[in-house]
């Protein structure tokens, strides 16, 4: 299960397309803002019935999000013992130094600047998806 947190519908569509093209066959859950993402990860609100153990194996996180921004989501994930081992890949438009530094300080596992070129975007997503899913996913959960 991959959690993709993205508010921009075009970027979302492109990301999903890229993941599909990368032959990532995992189930992909989409959250459209920070609050939704947190509900999903911590099994709250509409996801209250789910078990924490069935949470996402990877979180692809945009930084600029409505309601709760990406950095705060990252902080909550990395600050909680139950979720801190979930790999988080920050996937964002921002090349700003302070965003990069802040993300790494908060414990992101990787930081990817979304390129304008769709080819590069697909490449980046493919590498990310494969890398995290291959390396971090327990064999029993393999699709």
């Amino acid at each position: 299960l991959i959690l993709l947190v993205e508010d921009n519908p075009q970027d979302l569509e492109l990301a999903l397309r890229a993941l599909k093209k990368a032959n990532v066959s995992n189930r992909i859950e989409v959250a459209r803002d920070g609050a939704e993402a947190l509900d999903f990860i911590f099994c709250e609100g509409p996801h209250a019935g789910r078990r924490m153990e069935d949470g996402p194996k990877v979180v692809l996180l945009d930084l600029k999000l409505p309601k709760v921004d990406g950095l705060e989501v990252l902080q909550r994930i990395k600050g909680d013992p139950r979720t801190k081992s979930i790999p988080v890949v920050v996937l964002t438009s921002s090349k700003e130094q302070r965003d990069v530094i802040e993300s790494y300080n908060l414990g992101t596992n990787s930081y990817v600047v979304k390129p304008v070129s769709f080819d590069q975007f697909v490449q980046a997503v493919q590498q990310l998806g494969l890398y995290w899913l291959l390396l971090n996913q327990p064999p029993t959960d393999a699709p």
């Binding site: 075009q10 970027d11 090349k95 390129p115 769709f118």
Partner: protein, 526 residues
């Protein structure tokens, strides 16, 4: 004072026409110890001899043929310079004694004379003579001293009256005894009105007690002068009631057992006003600096927010344009005519170009906000070789000759200087792309204060008429079909170099290659 030997050294002249008398007197005088005794028997010689020798005492016989003693005395009066006729007359006629004294003789001796009497009278007269001489020289010395004292007083009073500072002397009762012209001006009070008045009249009421105490304490202490700064800010009081700030010093001196205090003071109204003005201006300046700093900080924040949002929001639609064009090409290529596919590719290229523009613009803007890092010695030779290595792809499949000359170590921010070399060297490689053999030369030269680095190429060059535009943001001197680029690279070079306190410039000819130079100040460690 004088002693016996001075008396015996007195110069004596014996005048007598009788040779026997002369000899007798001479013998007697020499026998008594007198060392300077001369004589004459010719009364006509006396004046001339006295003029020549200035005798201290003349022993004069009254009865002489041709010219008697009275005539000699009359003549002597005319030549006597010291206004004292030292003459002892010798006479055997009692009637002549009184006449002789009236004529100016100082004493007389009867002939024939008693030795002891004569010697005693001579001794006395010589003593008187010496005393008179001494008292006259004392008087002269005194006169000279008085004159110099008077001159000193005149000088001092000249100084006091022409002094710029007010000078007021008061006695031990603190009554004014001296009030100079400057004091008259400062206090608007004539000295004739001030003399004899208590000093208090020139001090505002609230300061009087403190001032009196201060002067008393000062008087009791051993100091001879002191500035009154210890009292804090002082004020004077003009006759018309106006108070004004003063600066003063006080000194004391005892004259004829009476203690006098002299206060020297100046009106510092103007200075205080100037100081106040300076304080106000400083405060104003401070306030403006704070305001401007706040404005700058706000502007900086705005700019940061702006770039942040550009960074995020402007790129996102471009991704959409590019991404969906790509998706169309991938999913519907068979349905599109070739021209349609080419046009979609053009759309993609445009979007990507805009992405690069945004990135470059942001990089340039970040440079403006970025603080200059530590200035450290930078090994330029190594830096240039690193950058050339990184640009290896640019040289692939081309004939490129690179000559690296001497590169002096520079002072600066390592990462920023790397950017400078990166931009200059990639330009050199880019604009020589159409040369069969590209030649790029790199080197440096130095003078006392700066080091100048250069990159020379044999590439496309440019027209010097547009040299001014070269370092402007988004300024390009070549067509995009010939050489790609956004026109930010040299603007970044210039900004970095300027922030290091240096400058960047270039010379070139069209198709004749270009030389780019930048200078850096040498900094503290040469």
């Amino acid at each position: 004072m004088f002693d016996a030997s001075d008396v015996l050294a007195g110069k004596l002249l014996v005048v007598d026409d009788q040779r026997a008398s002369v000899l007798l007197l001479e013998r007697m005088l020499r026998g008594a110890g007198y060392t300077s005794v001369s004589s004459t028997q010719d009364p006509h010689e006396v004046c001339e001899l006295h003029q020549k020798n200035s005798y201290d005492l003349i022993l004069l016989d009254l009865q002489m043929p041709g010219m008697d003693g009275f005539q000699v005395m009359d003549a002597l009066k005319d030549v006597e310079t010291e206004d004292y006729l030292s003459v002892l007359v010798l006479t055997s006629e009692p009637g002549h004694k009184l006449r002789a004294l009236k004529a100016g003789a100082k004493d007389f001796v009867n002939k024939p004379f008693d030795q002891v009497e004569v010697l005693t009278r001579i001794h006395s007269l010589l003593e008187v003579r010496l005393l008179i001489r001494e008292s006259r020289s004392h008087a002269k010395a005194l006169e000279r001293t008085n004159e110099s004292v008077r001159a000193g007083e005149a000088r001092l009073s000249g100084i006091v009256s022409s002094a710029m500072d007010a000078i007021i002397t008061v006695d031990s009762e603190q009554r004014v005894v001296l009030f100079n012209a400057a004091a008259e001006r400062v206090f608007k009070c004539k000295s004739t009105e001030a003399i004899g008045q208590p000093l208090d009249g020139f001090i505002p009421v609230r300061f009087r007690a403190a001032h009196t105490k201060h002067v008393e304490r000062f008087g009791a202490g051993g100091e001879t002068s002191r500035s009154t700064g210890a009292l804090g800010d002082l004020s004077g009081l003009r006759r018309d009631g106006e108070e004004f700030p003063i600066e003063a010093s006080i000194s004391q001196v005892v004259v004829s057992g009476q203690k006098l205090y002299t206060v020297i003071l100046r009106d510092i109204t103007e200075r205080k006003r100037a100081e106040e003005k300076i304080r106000e201006l400083n405060a104003e300046l401070e306030r403006r600096v704070v305001e401007r700093t706040a404005e700058l900080e706000a502007a900086n924040k705005d700019l940061e927010a702006f770039t942040y949002s550009v960074s995020h929001d402007l790129r996102s639609p471009l991704r959409t344009v590019d991404g969906f064009s790509q998706a169309v090409l991938e999913d519907f290529a068979p349905l599109l005519p070739e021209e349609g596919q080419r046009q979609l590719q053009t759309i993609r290229a445009g979007a990507q170009k805009m992405g690069v523009l945004i990135d470059d613009l942001l990089a340039f803007s970040r440079l403006g906000r970025r603080l200059l890092g530590n200035r450290v010695p930078v090994d330029m030779d190594r830096l240039v070789r690193d950058v050339l290595e990184e640009l290896r792809n640019e040289r692939e499949g081309r004939r490129v000759e690179i000559r690296v000359g001497t590169l002096t170590t520079g002072q600066g921010d390592h990462a920023l200087l790397r950017q400078v070399w990166m931009n200059l060297l990639s330009n050199a490689l880019k604009y020589t792309r159409k040369r069969e053999l590209a030649v790029v030369e790199i080197g440096s030269s130095a003078d006392d204060a700066t080091t100048t680095y250069f990159v020379r190429d044999n590439g496309a060059g440019f027209d010097m008429r547009y040299a001014k535009k070269l370092f402007g943001v988004f300024q390009r001197l070549h067509r995009i079909e010939d050489f790609e680029g956004t026109g930010v690279g040299l603007a970044i070079v210039q900004r970095i170099v300027q922030r290091h306190g240096g400058r960047a410039w270039a010379e070139a000819t069209v198709e004749g290659g270009a030389t780019f130079r930048f200078s850096l100040p040498k900094g503290d460690n040469p």
